[in-house]
């Protein structure tokens, strides 16, 4: 009898342990444990981050977290069942729906619910206030250069995806910039530049940035292209070497030599802005014509058909060329020197005065 009793007790113990283990590992059991209670357990009361709403009477309940708070976990009780679940990601508004079934097979009404609140993370909203500037046009590479910077330091420095539109075209993406902190103060030292096509026509460009939150392009600054060339704003003159003297093909009575004067961009001497040919002339000597001596000499201009002629053309210079050389005449352009006149006049007056005084004195003595 005792052995039967022992067997029964052992069986009861094994059964109890098995049942306990089963209840512990079953989902309901987990939920019950999470709720730290079974049966008539309730959701956490207000405190420790929880907010408890009592006296619910419907199958659903919508809860809105206070400003600056988000709901990260929900607990509700319907019928006798306490249910927990996480809200991931945390939300400022949650809808609690009862899933518990009452003995009648109906969805049980909620009796209360608790909400675990956490602080709402402070997320800086992406916003940009950008300044677009038309820098110049590069007629060699046929591009216009534009510059972008933040208007001021109050602007946010998110990684920024820039875009531009050449009116009336579509939006073109530019670089996605990380650490784009170009402000007006640093626009010269660390400029962000991009290029558009230069077609010698007026151009208007709209700058955009991509809003990751709204997933839309946001229109920012709009500017018309300026007419400042990138090169040759300032030039440096480069004067080449003179060529050798040769007889001027257009006028055999003179020699000509040439040199190239180039205007190079002051910043980049490889860019030639303009060139011009500078010519220098010199009269050719008129030589007595001696066939044997000068027939093959290109530097000597014969004055006739082998006959000597008087050389009378060099006194007045070149007289037929507009604005050419000329001669000046000797004109009497010297002003007179008055100092000698003043000196002589002063001496004459002095001597005359002294003489008159002396004669007057003699005359008085005689009388």
């Amino acid at each position: 009898m005792q052995s039967k009793l022992r067997i029964f007790a052992s069986f009861l113990l094994v059964f109890s342990l098995t049942l306990g283990l089963f209840l512990t590992l079953s989902p309901k059991g987990v939920e019950a444990n999470n709720g730290q209670g079974q049966g008539q357990e309730t959701c956490p009361n207000t405190g420790g981050g929880w907010i408890k709403i009592d006296d619910l009477t419907s199958k659903t309940y919508e809860y809105t977290a206070p400003t600056g708070k988000l709901v990260s976990k929900v607990c509700y009780k319907a019928s006798t069942v306490v249910t927990y679940y996480d809200v991931n990601p945390p939300k400022d508004k949650v809808l609690v729906e009862s899933t518990a079934v009452n003995p009648g097979g109906q969805i049980a009404d909620l009796s209360h619910a608790s909400f675990l609140l956490i602080d709402k993370p402070i997320v800086e909203e992406e916003k940009h206030d950008l300044v677009l500037t038309s820098m110049c046009y590069d007629h060699i590479n046929m591009v216009r250069v534009w510059r972008v910077f933040h208007k001021d330091k109050s602007d946010t420095y998110f990684p920024i995806q820039l875009g531009y539109k050449v009116v009336p075209g579509g939006i073109n993406s530019l670089d996605k910039l990380f650490g784009f902190n170009h402000t007006e103060a640093t626009r010269f030292t660390d400029p962000y530049l991009f290029e558009t096509l230069y077609d010698e026509k007026p151009q208007t460009v709209i700058l955009y940035w991509w809003n990751n939150t709204t997933q839309q392009w946001v229109m920012d600054d709009t500017k018309a292209a300026n007419n400042t060339p990138c090169y040759c704003v300032k030039t440096t003159e480069y004067i080449g070497e003179w060529s050798d003297w040769t007889v001027d093909p257009s006028d055999e009575s003179r020699f000509v030599r040439e040199r190239v004067v180039s205007n190079l961009d002051s910043k980049n001497s490889e860019i030639v802005c303009s060139t011009e040919i500078e010519k220098d002339y010199e009269e050719r000597d008129f030589c007595p014509w001696e066939t044997a001596t000068y027939a093959d000499d290109p530097l000597c201009l014969p004055t006739g058909d082998g006959e000597d002629e008087d050389d009378d053309g060099d006194v007045q210079g070149v007289t037929t060329e507009v604005k050419g050389t000329t001669t000046v005449v000797l004109a009497a352009t010297a002003a007179g020197d008055r100092s000698t006149v003043y000196l002589i006049q002063s001496l004459l007056m002095l001597v005359t005065g002294i003489s008159l005084i002396y004669v007057g004195k003699e005359y008085i003595n005689r009388v």
Binding site: K323, V341, V359
Partner: protein, 228 residues
Amino acid sequence: MKFKILNILVAVLVISTAIYTIFVFIPNTKEEVINTEIYAVADSTSFVEQENPLGKSLAFVDGNTYLYTFSVLNRDIPSRWEGKEISLKYTYLGEYSEDTVNELNELLLGDYKWQRQLDQNRNIVLGGPIFVMDNTYQLHTHNGLSLGNKHYLFGDLLHLLYSNGQLDGTQIKIGDTVLQAIWYKDARVLEDNRTPGGADLIISTCLERNGDRRLISGWIVISPEELQ
């Protein structure tokens, strides 16, 4: 007898002083006023069209005299001249001929004598005769060799700029016409009277009282675009 001789000597001295004063001192020291009222800028339709651009911007009719306002654009004028209005008066003698030098010197010793520097309002009137040779105008003007410290002569102004190394590139405005000096030459013209080329106007003035040393400068007309 001695007293008689003394009287004669004194009389001679008085008469000599009077003669010198009347015929030398007064003519040389009297400031003569330039008559500026009878001259006016000729109507542009009467200009003689020349290839020289100066002929298109200033009036040049043979024998006529013209008066234009004058200013120096990019150089300082002599301090003594400051506060006075400046004009340029010239008489155009036409194309150079054998008689031109005589006409030139007559005018320089007559209407443009060096004593005539100011008008009745004591404003400065620069000037001299102009003729054209080889399609280049030549203005001959007096220099008092005082660098503008005593005289109000065009030559003094040019001489001052030359002395300061500023003559090249000097811009002057005659009426509405701007001229710029592109070259200058200090030459003894009896030995070398040739000029460099390229000038629309040549201005010649003396650099010594008794000699042939002249300061010759070449000027071109520049447009408002070139001026900027």
